[in-house]
């Protein structure tokens, strides 16, 4: 059975790296490097001209960086599958590459077998992440990066929390000051600081907030 040949373009700004990659990939009988590019712009041009099955793309390149190349080629040459080659194992990069249409993400310090595997998987239209990257790690990262885990109440100082509680009970600055043994000017400063932090503008806002947080009990 005649083996289908997978055509490849290499994009990396270091000649010596391209040389190493070419030697490594061409030692496989089903892979053939049909072109090379030394920067992002050249990579886009060569892929458009040569229409390879796979582009092995360095993430960090001068001029147009890898992510920009990725975005452009997804529109201009959608039939080419892209394997990202990167120094960074950080999930932010992996996520960014994948969400911009990369098929595989390979670390530069992983084994040669890993790169060959990634090229074959990408050529077959499947996703590949080189270890220790994993979909689970990516998901965990996405979870951590989700906003709204911060409760503004936590940003209040202990003093500001005391003032908030007393203010929610309807006490004046003078009463709060007497209670806490501070000057009423300081009480006023705490009150305005905490309202600013919680994005509250009126006394009614403050009471609504306190009810919602259970700082003061609901009536009835």
């Amino acid at each position: 059975m005649a083996q289908a040949i997978t055509t490849i373009v290499l994009a990396d700004d270091h000649h010596i790296v391209r040389q190493g990659l070419r030697a490594l990939l061409e030692s496989e009988t089903d892979l053939r490097v049909v072109g090379e590019a030394g920067d992002g712009l050249e990579a886009v041009q060569n892929v458009e001209a040569l229409g390879p099955r796979v582009l092995v793309l360095d993430l960090m390149m001068p001029g147009l960086n890898g992510l920009d190349v990725l975005k452009q080629l997804k529109k201009r040459s959608p039939q080419t599958h892209i394997v990202i080659l990167s120094m960074y194992a950080n999930e932010a990069y992996v996520l960014e590459a994948l969400s911009n249409g990369a098929s595989a993400y390979v670390l530069k310090d992983s084994s040669s077998a890993d790169l060959v595997m990634a090229v074959r998987e990408a050529a077959a239209g499947r996703r590949y992440l080189s270890p220790p990257l994993s979909d689970r790690a990516i998901e965990a990262y996405q979870e951590k990066a989700k906003a709204a885990t911060l409760d503004r109440y936590e940003t209040l100082t202990a003093r500001e929390r005391e003032v908030l509680h007393l203010a929610a009970e309807g006490r004046t600055n003078t009463e709060i000051a007497n209670r806490l043994g501070i000057s009423s000017r300081t009480a006023e400063t705490h009150r305005s600081n905490l309202m600013h932090k919680l994005d509250l503008h009126t006394q009614a806002d403050l009471i609504r907030y306190a009810l919602r947080k259970g700082i003061i009990p609901m009536e009835g």
């Binding site: 960090m60 999930e91 310090d109 990066a145 940003t155 100082t157 600013h196």
Partner: protein, 531 residues
């Protein structure tokens, strides 16, 4: 003979003058004989005064109006010298033909006074020496200085009056000008923003402007006649005022010069002395300026300069330290591994082909180690991620890395950062603040856990790093705020933000940095005041 010399009331004076005027018969205008000049003709009556024609020439040369009127004869015998025409525009004849013209032409405001003074002359025989404004034919106001006397007959009856009137208009307008100029100088004196004093060489205050009240709490009148030592206690003015020969000579004290207010409080002043010669006496002008505000500003500037100096010294130290660390890393770690790699490859090249596999496998291991070291070194210097993906991914990465290195668990909470990019300097500052604060936690707090909160609200990016560790007394670091704190403070203030640190021994540390993410952040003045 002499009448009792008591003052004459205004009403009385006017009625007397009316009777007097009625005593002079009016010469009809149709009279063909012009009134002759009394002094040119020798009269039948040998007791009559005579003025020789020789004297008439002399009289008419005098640059003043000479006049004479008999009180026991008709108007025709009166005399007024011809200069009157040049001054007032009425001819000699016009004056003599109309005995009440004098009264009519006197300025309305001076009429009452004239009535009283003239009546005193006529009835009491008191010499008249006064000034009046007289309206000239063309409406001009002419100032006259008048001197007149009444002469009595041998039997004591009033005989005639004579006198001289000088045109003093020029003198009067010069006086007016002088008064205006004095008012202007007084205005300048009073409106000067500084306290201006005129003092004698003995230190006695001769004059002082109203500013003294605002500056020292004394009224000007309280101080006149007092010694300058009441205001400037050191006595420096006194010792230096005698040598003051140049204007604007600044007073130099042994230390700072202080003014003393009425309530005893002191404030810093600048004093300049200028010599002042008034007639024979030589005085000194002292200008006292309250420089409290300048002192405060200077203090702030000195403080700022000191902080900048400390910071730049710190910057150089840090730079050197960083360089040493990189050099060390390159030499000790990367260099050693490279040497090992080279040796491995050299050994491998001398082995038979069948045994090369092991060598290559060792070499590959060394290369991987090298790559990891180089990558870490690069990230430690500056994570490229910050430029590529912004603050949140970089903080997530850094915290993970930090925990792995220090075993300090970080509770990271954030809002408003997801998919959010800020200006590069804001992202850098925020990242460095978190990095520095966490480094401090690991180094000083002695805890296993810290909390980092980062959130945005309106135009502010807030960063809070909190630990429940040992804490420190703020006072103890305030003087030598050289560690990471100065760097963090500088990073936040140049971005129009501020850094607050809340810490005390035993109750942990809470650091809050607020950065402005608006395109236009606080002005430089605001930045200065933040310190």
């Amino acid at each position: 003979m002499d009448r009792p010399s008591q003052p004459i009331g205004l009403n009385e004076a006017q009625s007397i003058l009316q009777q007097l005027a009625a005593a002079f018969p009016l010469v009809s205008s149709s009279s063909t004989t012009p009134p002759s000049l009394a002094f040119t003709t020798t009269r039948d009556d040998p007791t009559l005064p005579e003025i020789d024609a020789r004297y008439q020439t002399l009289i008419e040369q005098i640059p003043a109006v000479v006049f004479m009127a008999f009180l026991d004869k008709g108007i025709g015998e009166a005399y007024v010298s011809p200069q009157i025409e040049a001054i007032l525009g009425f001819t000699q004849e016009e004056w003599l033909n109309d005995p009440v013209r004098w009264y009519q032409q006197i300025h309305p405001d001076d009429k009452d006074r004239w009535s009283v003074e003239a009546a005193e002359l006529f009835l009491l025989g008191q010499p008249l020496k006064s000034w009046y404004r007289v309206i000239a034919r063309d409406g001009r106001v002419v100032w006259f200085h008048c001197e007149a006397k009444m002469v009595r007959n041998q039997d004591g009856r009033p005989w005639f009056i004579h006198g001289v009137a000088f045109d003093i208009s020029e003198l009067k307008s010069a006086e007016e000008a002088l008064k205006e100029s004095e008012e202007m100088l007084r205005g300048l004196f009073e409106s000067a923003p500084d306290t201006v004093l005129v003092i004698s060489h003995e230190g006695e205050i001769a004059n002082v402007n109203v500013q003294v009240e605002r500056m020292f709490g004394y009224t000007a009148s309280e101080l006149v006649g007092k010694s300058i030592n009441a205001l400037i206690p050191e006595g420096v003015i006194l010792s230096q005022s005698r040598q003051t020969s140049e204007p604007h000579t600044p007073i130099t004290g042994p230390g700072e010069l202080y003014g003393r207010r009425k309530d005893g409080t002191r404030f810093p002043v600048d004093i300049m002395l200028s010599p002042l010669n008034v007639g024979q006496s030589s005085m000194v002008i002292g200008v006292v300026r309250d420089i409290t505000r300048r002192k405060v500003a200077e203090e702030a500037m000195r403080d700022y300069a000191a902080r900048l100096k400390a910071l730049s010294r710190r910057l150089m130290e840090v730079q050197e330290l960083e360089r040493r660390n990189i050099a060390l890393e390159l030499h000790d770690e990367i260099g050693q591994v490279l040497t090992g790699l080279k040796l491995t490859l050299e050994v491998g090249s001398r082995l038979p082909a069948a045994d090369v596999q092991d060598t290559l496998s060792t070499a590959r291991g060394l290369v991987n180690e090298l790559m990891a070291r180089v990558r870490n070194l690069s990230l430690d210097l500056r994570p490229a991620m910050l430029d590529d993906f912004g603050l949140l991914p970089t903080l997530l990465w850094h915290i993970e890395h930090y925990t792995a290195q220090t075993q300090v668990k970080v509770n990271f909470k954030h809002s408003g950062l997801e998919k959010q990019r800020f200006r590069p300097e804001v992202e850098t500052a925020a990242y460095r603040v978190v990095q520095e604060a966490l480094t401090n936690v690991a180094r000083h707090a002695g805890v296993e856990e810290a909390t980092v909160r980062v959130w945005t609200h309106q135009d502010t990016l807030s960063i809070q790093v909190e630990d429940g560790g040992q804490g420190f007394e703020l006072e103890s670091v305030a003087g030598r705020e050289t560690s990471g704190l100065a760097g963090m403070r500088e990073r936040t203030t140049v971005l129009g933000g501020q850094l607050k640190i809340d810490s005390s021994v035993g109750s942990g540390t809470r650091l809050l940095a607020e950065l402005s993410v608006a395109d236009n952040f606080a002005n430089p003045v605001g930045r200065l005041e933040n310190h």
